[in-house]
Symmetry: C2
Subunit: 261 residues, 2 copies
């Protein structure tokens, strides 16, 4: 299955209607099976489904690192990723089911337990620094790499970077999936994260911030807007939150001491 | 609680850093309690929480119309909406719990059961028609009314319209919530829907389309992109899907016979 579908649309304007060759981003259901237990079905873009599955499980608190993962099998045709862990199934699933009551159907992903978890997160005090020019450069790189968005206008992108360069990049129809794919890739590649930061195209709601916090990243950069809860939690968690990073300027909401003047 | 928070941010550019008065959209947790049973906690914007709760329950298939609703109590301070129905609790909750297994934590709301449900939806064959100029006018009105977005850049908006004018309008941090608020308002006001259409600011993933289909609306207009699954389902369900409706032009993806040349 391709990440986009070529279609013909009618382009309509006051001048009339004409046929137009166009492309739409592919949306497919992906079922994640953890130790033979069906955990969830996401709707996503068929790119790096193994990363998405591991990132989702990490963000849900069901796995911690590569050491927990015994096996990952992707069946792209049937839309299934099977993950085997060394950990105990029932305890994992209980953890998830325990969370469901307050997180299911939040309309923007599995959020709320994260808001609670955040109180247990350690405040991040990393000395990582980034220059204003570099923030703008990394956001430019995010846009340049976002080929699926350029073709369809229907996807979000996220990247894991150092203060100097982009390391890994992912796209998906969902803001959350694009970040979870980064989370999963960091796990698969067992990356050291205390000198890394996250750049994302989408609005920063609290659960995006908390995915960042769970990775222990100290800087989160977005082209778009944060919410009030995100700003308050970033302040509390010690994370440098940068929004509306576009063109030549940006807004720094919290812990600006990491941004070099 | 206000729908936005006034804050001070640092505006940084290559020229330096200055203080700036700014506003961020409010994100708050809202717990929906149905017949004394806690159903879900959403993260949302504190506007029209009663509509959001009823719209969520309708989209989940837990209520059908105003006739099902006995009482709605909003406790904005504590972030709770209590809904009482005339229907039987346990059966309702079973329905939801039955769905959770495949829908929880989908990263973009409770989606997948909708994809399955769609096969049970009746094909929509309404004769409703709209002129190209009116599509563009309704989208302009959506932008003009989106004051929260104009102030914060962090919200989505949706409107229920006739082919001539905007009837109701809602904003929220979430694409799904903004649509669910419309769904809830149509229920509370017991609106006749077969001559109405939905206009939304956000990307149209399959579950947004299916919220539309569940209302029996025959035309869905978005300023943004649809996904492949959305286009395929709109075709199957008989819905006229219009995307990228901006400025002077739009793309018509399906059932263009409802758009007057």
């Amino acid at each position: 299955m391709k990440e986009l579908e070529e279609i013909t649309v009618l382009r309509a304007s006051k001048e009339g209607i004409t046929n137009l060759a166009d492309a739409v981003v592919t949306e497919m259901p992906l079922t994640i099976i953890l130790n033979d237990e069906e955990i969830v079905t996401l709707l996503c873009t068929p790119l790096k489904l193994d990363y998405l599955a591991l990132g989702f499980l990490k963000s849900e608190g069901l796995i911690n690192d590569k050491g927990d993962v015994k096996k990952v099998e992707v069946d792209q045709e049937d839309g299934i990723v099977r993950v085997e862990t060394k950990d105990n199934t029932s305890s994992l699933v209980e953890k998830l089911y325990g969370k469901r009551t307050i997180t299911s159907g939040c309309g923007k992903g599995t959020i709320f337990y994260n808001v609670i978890d955040s109180l247990q997160c350690n405040k991040i005090e990393l000395e990582l620094e980034i220059e204003v020019d570099m923030v703008l450069k990394l956001v430019r790189e995010l846009q340049q790499r976002a080929e699926l968005f350029q073709e369809t206008g229907g996807s979000h992108s996220s990247a894991l970077c150092t203060p100097k360069e982009t390391l890994i990049f992912n796209e998906d129809i969902g803001r959350h999936n694009a970040v979870d794919k980064i989370v999963g890739e960091t796990i698969m590649k067992d990356l050291k994260l205390n000198d890394k930061l996250l750049v994302t195209s989408g609005r920063v709601s609290s659960e995006i911030l908390l995915k960042t916090a769970k990775l222990g990243l100290s800087i989160l950069i977005s082209r778009a807007a944060p919410t009030s809860l995100t700003v308050n939690m970033a302040d509390e968690l010690g994370i440098t939150l940068i929004g509306f990073a576009r063109g030549r300027r940006m807004n720094i909401y919290t812990h600006d001491w990491r941004v070099k003047r």
